[in-house]
Symmetry: C2
């Protein structure tokens, strides 16, 4: 396999168009008769909608229409997710909730109309439940009185079988509950030599993609069809929900996925139903592009959480018990990832006794959405901080302590099911070989006037890996080039990897293989690009489809070469008889036999449809060397090491890039990012001036070791790699701070203020 297409760091197929600025984003499109929509967002977290005086906006030159809920399909009483909500009906439940759509001939006219409408709109403010602890109180008025059933968003990134706690009777702001119990946690805690307990807080974090949400919708009254050009991670997902909201069959909605300028879970479904409904109502194409301020106000960020963890271990370092309580603030609609958070919090280690309870609570804040490994950074920050404290308390090396306790394949998950083969232990072993490992836990302080403390922290974490059925086609063109058809959106380099998989399975050079652009009319089915599942699920379908195409090609060759199919091989663009390479025929020549008037061979068209039901969870072990300024509280991450089990690195450069990106975003969680709301529930960090994301100087050199514990079902053993690297970062940095200073920050982001407070409490 010297020429294997697998394991090669090929340049990304979408690289050049992106770096040269030629990639087409939804907002780049021009269209005849295009209208521009701006959304009026509620300034109140909770209010009765008194009057939306359309005339105020319609008086502006260029304003074509003002749409309110009454002009659109009724929709769900309580939308199963934020993306299915159109416009507020009677009441607004968060500051930033869409109230009306001003549609105009130009963006500027729409803005004028919006300003006038905003000034004229009348609300009756109502008390807002902003704090989730208040909202959890059974006596609190319900944010969604008509809520029933479970949320869809919760299922998005990692559908799980969980033991749900029974619902309490009566309306409540607790939208979902989860509980995992094993053994007798009280007994487990009694068995422990050391018990550590902490309460952790994390903040609302925005996905901070560069490209804002952008959607164009067009309605064809003759065919009664909607076409959407949109920045989405999931074309079929958009299709399904737009069709449902508009009451159309799915085949009457066409979704053309445009280049996604950063998604991270937030570009799944947001503006599409509204744009489609508006285009249908107005019979003209409607474009909606959010401003940055809108993104902060009406986007779907990652939820804040409060997590209490108590954990015990024996003197020898064996974990005995874990008790945890998770509270996730879902905002105004259900969907917080408390299930997966609870599972990951309690799943990485062998713990004989555990009791983990999670709740998701509604408040008058923006409904939260998916953000890279939803729920995992929060849970992992909590549990890995505790594990680190335990190792410190037991004076054990944090890596050795973890190696003693980590789960392996066959160990039970909190759900009771066994883990499949996982590479958590292997990742820790690999991290132990990194130069940083020798310095783990070692604190150092510079002398003299230097106020800097330095330490190395470690954490592990991972992701279950998503599953979703997928089809794929591999087609041989008549000139012998190969095209792959899939229904997945490439947000992370997956297209390049899929081309490598197809090339390998077909035996063709990878530069002859191309992945075709698609839309929902023509693409084979695939899940959205979320949950780290595209390479794992779509890649497996591509592999099988390419093998199918290869068989079809060899059948033609066998006939031409008068040889048995089993004796043939594909080498350098030719099919030849093994051991007799003079008996050969070019693939392009075979391809030509399948096309043209009267051609005698069917087109080579390999297909596979698959529903993998076996997960491939992927874990990584991280080490962060951090410097803490004990006077300012500023923390700098100086050096970073990751060892991550990726199953098989189809394209190592692309995998490393995912890890780099994940760590960078993790540093944002750890040190910088927080959406803040005032007591009235109004966002006070509504721009990049107030909301800090990592800049280059915040991100250190990152050393990556790829660990390959192959999955059973993934293509060539590959696993999802996108989500795991963000998961342990905050915990690793926190433990680095603890190693440097002895202080344990328990709140994200670990701003100077938080760190100074922790330093002040040190030893307290």
């Amino acid at each position: 396999m010297g020429n294997s297409a697998i394991g090669r760091s090929l340049r990304r197929v979408d690289g050049e168009e992106k770096v040269t600025g030629r990639a087409q984003f939804a907002a780049d499109l021009e269209m005849r008769g295009l209208l521009h929509g701006r959304i009026l967002l509620s300034p109140h977290a909770h209010a009765r909608l008194r009057r939306v005086p359309k005339a105020a906006a319609l008086a502006c030159p260029g304003v074509v229409a003002v749409l309110t809920a009454e002009d659109l399909p009724p929709g769900d009483a309580v939308p199963a997710q934020r993306g299915r909500a159109l416009l507020a009906r009677g009441e607004v439940r968060f500051a930033g909730e869409p109230v009306a759509l001003v549609v105009a001939e130009s963006e500027a006219a729409a803005q004028d109309g919006l300003d006038r409408l905003a000034a004229a709109c009348e609300y009756e403010p109502l008390p807002a439940l902003v704090d989730p602890e208040d909202a959890e109180d059974p006596a609190a008025p319900p944010v969604q009185p008509h809520l029933s059933g479970r949320s869809a968003e919760a299922q998005l990134h990692a559908a799980l079988a969980t033991a749900e706690e029974p619902e309490e009777p009566g309306p409540s702001n607790v939208a979902s509950r989860v509980r995992f119990v094993r053994g007798d946690v009280e007994r487990g805690l009694r068995d422990a030599a050391v018990v550590v307990s902490r309460r952790f807080h994390t903040s609302i974090v925005h996905q901070a993609y560069i490209e804002p949400h952008a959607t164009i919708a067009e309605y064809d009254p003759a065919r009664r069809r909607v076409t959407l050009w949109t920045s989405t991670q999931g074309l079929f997902y958009v299709r399904e929900h737009v069709a449902a909201v508009l009451g159309l069959p799915e085949s009457s909605v066409r979704v053309v996925p445009m280049t996604v300028g950063g998604g991270f879970g937030a570009k799944i479904l947001l503006l599409e139903p509204l744009a489609a409904a508006a285009a249908r109502a107005l019979r003209r194409p409607v474009r909606i592009v959010l401003t940055r301020a809108d993104e902060f106000r009406t986007g779907t960020p990652a939820p804040r959480s409060t997590i209490e963890v108590t954990m015990g271990a024996r003197r020898d370092g064996t974990l005995t018990a874990l008790r945890a309580r998770l509270l996730f603030d879902a905002g105004a609609l259900p969907g917080a990832p408390v299930n997966i958070a609870a599972l990951l919090l309690s799943g990485a280690y062998r713990i004989p006794h555990l009791d983990v309870r999670g709740r998701e609570v509604l408040t008058h804040k923006p409904p939260i959405g998916a953000y890279r490994a939803p729920g995992a950074p929060q849970a992992t920050f909590a549990v890995e901080s505790i594990v680190d404290e335990l190792s410190r308390a037991l004076d054990l090396d944090p890596i050795e302590f973890r190696l003693r306790n980590v789960c392996q394949g066959g160990d039970p998950m909190p759900t009771g099911e066994p883990w499949p083969r996982i590479g958590l232990r292997e990742a820790l072993l690999a991290l132990r070989e990194d130069p940083l490992a020798r310095r783990v836990g070692a604190a150092s302080a510079r002398g003299g006037r230097d106020t800097t403390l330095e330490g190395v922290g470690v954490a592990v974490g991972g992701w279950l890996g998503g599953l979703e059925p997928a089809s794929a086609c591999v087609r041989l063109n008549t000139d012998g080039t190969v095209q792959i058809l899939v229904g997945s959106v490439d947000i992370s380099g997956t297209a390049t990897g899929l081309a490598q998989i197809a090339a390998e399975a077909m035996g063709m050079p990878v530069d002859r293989v191309q992945i075709a652009g698609v839309d929902s009319d023509s693409a084979p089915a695939a899940g959205m690009s979320g949950g780290s599942k595209i390479t794992y699920t779509v890649g497996a379908a591509v592999q099988r489809a390419a093998e199918d195409a290869r068989r079809q090609l060899l059948a033609i060759a066998a006939s031409r070469l008068e040889a048995a199919q089993a004796d043939l091989e594909i080498v350098d663009g030719k099919v030849q008889v093994r051991g007799a390479p003079v008996r050969a025929v070019a693939v392009s020549e075979l391809a030509r036999l399948t096309s043209g008037f009267g051609a005698g061979w069917p087109p080579v068209f390999g297909v596979a449809s698959d529903a993998i039901t076996q997960r491939a969870p992927a874990f990584g072990a991280h080490a962060a060397r951090v410097r803490v300024d004990r006077e300012s509280g500023h923390v700098q991450v100086c050096e970073y090491a990751v060892a991550q089990d990726v199953g098989r690195a189809i394209n190592p450069a692309a995998v490393r890039a995912q890890i780099h990106g994940g760590v960078a975003q993790g540093i944002g969680w750890a040190l910088l990012e927080r959406m803040e709301f005032d007591e009235a529930g109004t966002l006070v960090t509504g721009s990049f001036l107030d909301y800090a994301v990592p800049r280059p100087r915040d991100v250190p050199p990152i050393r990556v070791t790829l660990v390959e514990v192959p999955s059973e079902r993934g293509p060539y053993g590959a696993k999802g790699v996108g989500e795991p690297p963000v998961v342990p970062v905050a915990a690793a940095v926190a433990s680095g701070i603890a190693a440097a200073s002895g202080a344990r920050p328990t709140q994200l982001p670990m701003t100077p203020e938080v760190v100074l407070r922790a330093l002040a409490q040190r030893g307290g």
Copy 2:
């Protein structure tokens, strides 16, 4: 099968958007940075190109570039077909040959530049070979001195195995030859009691589509990819040839087929390579839309022909011999359909002795192209006129005479191969039941001052039916609707029929089935929409793909219903256990099991790839009642009857519409249409003022009888239906004239002048 989707006259899926003007044509598209191209056409039929002074055009405001052959890929020495020719290099070989492309910011600026360039361009006129008989002379200078090999266009509509005559040595204007010999034609003629001999002439006929050729090309330098939005009958055909001309892999060319506003064979490949080359050269999208005058000057019309036929029959009406010589004028490039013409001329009847020779000759006229049943109207006009004359000479009923001689399945074709099962005899028998049949051959003249003669003529004719490999996909959406994916363009209602086929094969209501829009990136392979082969070949693939999808769906249902797959049926959108309809599950519910995080069933994605190699020739029998004004020579077709074997009418209304359209165009051939060139080879009929197409008053009521002699491989027995109906019209009208007047016109179109001449020669 009371609910069968087959045999129902459903409304065409593309109907509403066409009648409401919402269908998108290529010329409707807007695009950022779009440039407009106008082509400078040679005014000379043959000239040396002296100077193309670009500066003349570039001086016009808004003109961006002038491209000549030197600016474009070198291309073929002699293009294998007109569509692959870009711009003239050194010499022009027909009046209307593209010389330069003027590209400007607007259509008006391009026109200004074109006018200036045309005035400044310098040619050295050379002698032009305009008459094919002159060109055939071995001493004539060759129109294409570098010609070698066979043309591609000749193979397009009906690839045939033929006995080619050996090439004569040395350069020649005879671009191809065909000969069919059976028995001893001299002996056959000696055996005859009656021998009739005539020489027929047909004219150059334009396809006269309403929409002009229109193409937009865009080049993406980052991906090195061309995208074309174009009015084409064959997306993959365009892709293949644009890729070849530009030296790109096929996967680097994307063809988006736009609504075709009339194709009839002429919208296959014409402007696309030029537009693509220009877009690549200029790095901006380039649009080329022909004017009507350009269409006449540089389009690819149907060839003129001269056909001599001698035929003999015994007294009892048995045919004994056929001798024929066909001369087709290909214009400046090879590609005239002389093979198929020779075959159809000599194929419909059992004739023991035949000798048919065909030649295709190059002249300095526009290269001809495909037009609905290429070669067949010409050949059929000749042979059916002769057959009619024989029946008149023998005083036999023309229908009975034909019934005595027509071929049936198993009889040899002129190639020696046996005819598959054909319905020619059945069509004649059906026509015999038509009220017009009773009046066949009956002449009537009104008395008094009325100068009108009336008669009924009969002719038969057909088409071999094209073959080309095709794939198809049938996909179940997650809401239970069905989408079909095919790579064929719908120019005649095929999409509606394919939906019916899929519905029938899957067992779903047809309103749940939709055919998706596609492009060459995403569509399964299919041949172009030409040769009457889409329903036959793509329809067969759709049928099999739908059967495949049905099996996959039933597998899920079997598991859900705990029943054997064989016991299940699909009724009214539900899968149920046969005989126990309470055990049922909705298709939409099954579909949902194939989608979403962790779903357990693969997407239902039926696929088929096929290469049918068995033709399904389709014949019709026509009768025309015509009135001839013996003073003016004007001919009016008053009533028309068609009995056509269609195998199986998937959508009878759509089939009848094809027959109506074919007859209307046949009336154009018969009476009206002729492109005329002067002695210098310049077109003198360059507008619809000079070129007459049938108007409503020229087309009589048409009575259609659908005969169903099922094909073996077509879906539900269907055969191609689009081309046969144009074939016998001119012959039927001519025989009607003969029946009315005793005069036999031997030239198309049978203008008043031609008819008067025939009347004058009557009895001569």
